[in-house]
Each structure stands twice: as C-alpha cells, then as structure tokens.
C-alpha cells in the first residue's frame, strides 16, 4: 500500500514554494507596512492613560448596549487586566484582532453577497469554506511564515484565513433567507438587482450578518492566541511563555485576560446584532 504514495504533501509544498518564490517580495513588503501600521496603532493606544482608556471603553459599551451590568463588568474586567500587569499585551492583542477582523469582514461580506447572488460562486466558495474551517488552525501558521516571516503579519494572515468563513457564510445565508414573497415584491415593482440588494437584502440580512461578524471576531481572538507560536506576542504570547516556563499561574492570568476581552466584545456585538432586529 505504501509502495506508491500519492504526493499530496509534496504537491502542496511545491505549489506554495512556487508562490513564495514569485510573490514573497510583495508579501514581505506588505509585512513591513502592516508591522508599521500595527506598531503605530499599539503605541497610539498605549499613549492613552489606562484609567482614561477604561472609562472610554466603558462609555462606549454603555452607549452601544445600554446594559448596566455589562458596563460595570467591563470596567471591573479591564481593571483586573491592568492590575495583573497585562495591559500592554492586551492592547497588542486588541490591535491584532481589530486589524484581522476588519480584513476578514472587508473580504468576507462582499464574498458572501456574491455567493448569495451567483449560484456558481456559491458552489465554488462553499467547499473552500469547509476546508478553511475544518483544517486545524495550526496548519495555516506554516505557510504564513515563508510569505511574511515570523511576526505579526503572518499572524494576521492566518487569523484572516481562519476567521473569514463565518462572515461569508452568514452574509450568504442572511441574503438567501429573505422571504420569497418580499423578493417577488421587489421584482414586481421593477427593482434592479442592486436596488434589491440595498433596499431589501442587506437591511433584512443585517442581524444575520452581525451574527457572522460576531463569530469572526471570536474566531480571530482565538486564532490570535494560537498565532503567538509564530510571533504574534500579545496575550497569546504571555500564554506561550508561561507554557514554556511551566508558570501555571501566569498562564491562567493571561487566559483570564483573554476571556475578559472576548466576553466584552461578544456581548457588545450580540447587542448590536439584535438591536438592528427591532
């Protein structure tokens, strides 16, 4: 059975090698740009005095959700992170999540719209999404290195790949779930496809799309932690360090900080999604 082995791995590897050879000058250059932008973002965020940052964060949570418990929880959670000395790592992680999510949404939502409108596109995209979602997240880390080198850009790349599927899927689902009678109605009144998209599809699919965005943010957060293996630093980096030095307490502290950030982001995004629904 093993006499003739199908060269699956070899083929993929040589394909990626080929791409690296011809594209890495672009990807490496973009890595520099991303690194600079991220660095600027991080130092910008770190310039804000921590108490001011916490107050601002709590204020925006309140404005977006009008939820007293959530606002109070955010203040306490962020204060705990500060107290544990993980502030800089948290800000770094936030910046990474922000940039990767924005990229994932900017790519994922339009792809979702296209695959909702076009059946061929749908048939092409869905199996790719299955692969993207079931492939173990660590595998994405390997090709990211030759393209972008060790560091944050490689982390963002693998995070975008890993977190984009829900944005595509939910957008597509939301649009395909528009009731048939409303679609017929917009056609009967002579709407073009673009008019239907703007006046019916997107407004009505908004809660579903927001649910997808929420998922994307959560996946991005978890991937950013995993990507610490290839130099993403941040909270994930703290966990990674703790693993290598077997510092159980330190590991849990970083873990708790991640949970706090995740919960705040998740609750706020969920509220945004359901508020559109009303």
């Amino acid at each position: 059975m093993n006499d003739f082995r199908l060269p699956v791995g070899e083929t993929i590897e040589s394909g990626i090698d080929f791409l690296v050879e011809h594209l890495s000058f672009i990807t490496k250059a973009s890595a520099d740009v991303v690194e600079t932008v991220l660095g600027a973002m991080e130092s910008g965020l770190l310039l804000v005095p921590i108490p001011v940052f916490i107050v601002l964060a709590a204020a925006s949570v309140w404005l977006l959700t009008r939820d007293r418990r959530l606002t109070l929880g955010s203040v306490l959670g962020l204060a705990l992170i500060w107290n544990m000395g993980l502030w800089a790592a948290t800000v770094s992680t936030l910046a990474l999540v922000l940039v990767s999510t924005l990229c994932a949404i900017a790519l994922g939502v339009p792809l979702g719209i296209l695959s909702a409108i076009n059946t061929r596109m749908y048939q092409a995209v869905m199996p790719v999404l299955d692969v993207m979602q079931t492939m173990p997240a660590f595998v994405y880390l390997i090709p990211a290195i030759p393209f972008f080198g060790l560091g944050k850009t490689a982390a963002i790349f693998s995070t975008v790949v890993f977190s984009m599927p829900p944005a595509i899927r939910f957008t597509c689902l939301g649009i395909r779930q528009i009731p048939a009678d409303l679609v017929e109605c917009s056609t009967a009144f002579g709407a073009t496809r673009v008019q239907r998209l703007m006046k019916l599809d997107l407004p009505l699919a908004a809660p579903t799309i927001m649910a997808g965005v929420n998922q994307t943010v959560m996946l991005a957060l978890s991937m950013v932690v995993i990507a610490s293996m290839i130099g993403a630093k941040g909270l994930g980096g703290e966990v990674w360090k703790a693993i290598q030095r077997l510092q159980m307490g330190r590991g849990f502290e970083a873990g708790i900080a991640i949970v706090i950030v995740a919960m705040i982001l998740d609750r706020v995004l969920q509220k945004l999604g359901t508020r559109r629904d009303k």
């Binding site: 017929e184 109605c185 917009s186 009967a188 009144f189 002579g190 709407a191 006046k199 407004p203 009505l204």
Partner: protein
C-alpha cells in the same frame, strides 16, 4: 383596443417545455404530461381581454394556474408561448429596461401575504415603488402619504407593519401599489389571508375606490362569492385552461359546462334566497297625496336614481314615475303627480326565488318592485344590488 390582450398563452414548467407543448396541442391532459415528462402545465392556451376600467376576477381552485397566469402579465413568470399585449406592447418581447418601466409605472401589484418590508415604516413601504422609480425622498413620501389616506390609513405612516392588523397591512399593500398611480392593478388573492369580516370590508373598500379611480384590475381569487361581488367579468380556470369567461350573471345562470355548473352549484344561492332577502328597503318613494313633481324630482336627485315608486296613504303601490316625466310635469307647472305615473308595472311577491328574478328583470327598463299580497310596497330590486346581494350572502346560504 383592450387594455390587456392575451392570446394563446402557455406556461410549461420544466427543462424541456417544447415537448410538453406538443403533447398539449395533441390534446393530452395535464396529468398525463406530468406522468410522462415530469413537466407541469401552468397555463394552457389562455386567450382573453381585459378592458380599461373593469375588474376581471381570475377564479379557480388552487393549482388551476390563476397565479401563474397573472404573473405572466408582468413577467414575474416568463411565458412559454403566446402573446401578452399591454396597451398594444408585447410584454414577452420587452428587454429588461422596458420591463422595469412597465413594472415601475404601469402595473401595481398587491400580494396575498402583503409582502411588506418589516424593517421599513408604513410610509416607507408605501413609497417603495416610487423609491425604485428614483423619485426624491420628500416627494415620494408625500405621495405615499396621499396613497395611505386614500385607503384610510391617515396617521399610521410612522408605524411598522407588525404593529398593524392584517387588514391594515393589506391596506398598506394596496397603498403601495396605488402610490405609483398605475393604470393596471394586479391583485393576487389580495384578501384571502384576511378573516371573513375584514375581507368583506376590504371588498367594499375596493369597490368604493374603484368607483373613483376606474383602474383596470385583474384580481385573483379562489372564492366564488368574492368573484361574484367584485368582478365585472369572471375568468374561470381549471387545470391551467380557461373554462368560461363571463359576467357574474352569465356564470351563475348559464355555466359553460359541468365543471362550472358544479362550481356554481356549491353556492347555489339563487334557489335559497328570495326577493325579500335581496331587495333594498328603499325609503325613496313618492307619496301620492303629498308629493308633487318637484318633490319627486328632489327625492330622485337625493338618492341618485332615475325612477321613483309612488305609494298611496296605506303604503300600497300605485305605480312608478320617471325623472323625465316628472320634469316634464314640473316644467308645465303641474302640482299633482298622477298624470306622470305609469301604473302598468311588473311586481314580484317577497317569496319569489332569486333565481327567477334574473329572467323577470332581464328586459325591465326600471327597478323591480316587491309587494306583499295586499299590494303593500316592500322594497326594490336593482340589477346591480341583486348580483351583489347574491354574492355577499352566498357564504351564509
């Protein structure tokens, strides 16, 4: 020229409609074609006209092809063969831009399940068609508001559809179509989802509106009573084919075949209802002792009628006076009505079956009087109200 002219229209559902079309022309049935080719026959050789300003009700049981037929008119469904001329233009041959023009300006559609956009206010919903036309916001919202007030929804513009009852939601649906000021309204089972009382209200409302608007309306219904009440003419469909086209009276009194006869039989109200139950208890009578020609004319004007029955002091029928005759007398300065009264008139007893009334009224130039055995005046039957009353009470009978 008819407003809508449909000729030899076919719609076959399936990947290879040509073969099914051939089988149809050889006289094979819908079921046979389904069994042999897995193709569905939606519409089978429909030919009819809709005239400007009339309500045509397309009626049939579910699966009879009535929805498909109407959706071919604005090409929500593309016909397999045949011609559809709207104002002389062939809808089947239109390109996308022309088709959008037709849908945006000429044909308004009202849907069975209202199809209101839940994320928009009532006013924004009513303005949808105008928005799609590209009208600017202030103007379209104003026109939407006018359309809403036409259907009795003043002040509801800022509400959301889910805050409205079913009947009100369908008024919004109607306003949305009317806001376009289209020549033609397509109403797809527009009142079927409403409960019976509301449905009757909406039917009356539509009749009222239609008196003012004079739109060309194609109304789909599976409900014979509704068809009889609303339709100037009725198109009865079965298995995709048109079985009979005719006025409500024609459908009721001379069904084209057994199918129609059975359809009508289920609601054969004419045998059950009597003259008394369909007559109007009219207050508009002239009293022989007190009313002169001028008083009679005034009453006719007030009730918007051309003939007035005359009764004596015991409310016994004396005869009928026409507006012309009364005006003539008045012109000569006469004080008494007697000279103008025509006493040779047809009357019926209150228990005359409604079925017989059609024949009696067929060539009567004035309304029919209903009198009891002592010749006391009970009421009048006008042809229009006869049909309407039959339609309205059919369900109860």
């Amino acid at each position: 020229m008819a407003k809508i002219h449909v000729e030899g229209l076919y719609k076959i559902f399936g990947p290879n409609p040509k073969k099914a079309l051939q089988m149809l022309s050889k006289g094979r049935s819908k079921d046979e074609i389904m069994a042999e080719t897995r193709h569905g026959v939606g519409v089978n050789n429909a030919t009819f006209e809709v005239h400007e300003g009339e309500i045509v009700v397309v009626m049939g049981l579910s699966g009879s092809g009535k929805s498909t037929l109407v959706r071919c008119l604005n090409r929500l469904i593309t016909p397999t063969a045949g011609r559809i001329l709207v104002d002389g233009r062939d809808v089947a041959a239109m390109d996308d831009a022309e088709l959008r023009q037709l849908r945006q300006r000429k044909m308004g559609m009202v849907f069975q399940n209202f199809a209101l956009f839940p994320h928009r206010t009532v006013k924004e919903n009513a303005a949808l068609g105008l928005e799609i036309q590209g009208m600017d916001k202030a103007k379209r919202l104003q026109q939407a508001e006018e359309a809403l007030s036409m259907v009795g929804l003043d002040g509801w513009g800022e509400s959301y559809p889910r805050q409205l009852s079913g009947g009100m939601q369908q008024r919004v649906g109607l306003a949305r179509a009317l806001a376009l000021s289209p020549d033609i309204l397509l109403m797809d089972e527009a009142f079927s989802a409403l409960d019976p009382l509301i449905r009757r209200d909406m039917q009356d409302e539509l009749i009222n509106l239609q008196e003012k608007m004079r739109k060309t309306i194609v109304f789909i219904s599976h409900d014979l009573d509704e068809a009889l009440k609303l339709g100037d003419r009725i198109i009865l469909m079965k298995d995709g084919a048109i079985v009979q086209i005719g006025t409500p009276e024609q459908i009721l009194t001379s069904p084209a075949n057994d199918y129609v006869a059975r359809f009508v039989e289920d609601v054969d109200i004419t045998k059950i209802l009597t003259a008394e139950s369909v007559m109007k208890r009219s207050e508009a009578v002239a009293d022989l002792r007190t009313d002169g020609p001028r008083a009679a004319l005034r009453k006719m004007r007030k009730h918007n009628i051309a003939h007035l029955f005359v009764v004596d002091h015991n409310h016994r029928l004396v005869g009928i006076v026409s507006a012309d005759a009364a005006a003539n007398l008045a012109g000569r300065g006469e004080e008494k009505l007697a000279e103008a009264i025509c006493t040779e008139i047809k009357t019926v007893a209150p228990d005359t079956p409604a079925q017989d009334l059609f024949g009696i009224m067929a060539d009567l130039p004035y309304p029919l009087a209903v009198v009891d055995e002592s010749n006391k005046f009970k009421g009048v039957i006008v042809r229009g109200t006869l049909v309407a009353a039959l339609a309205e009470r059919g369900g109860a009978a």
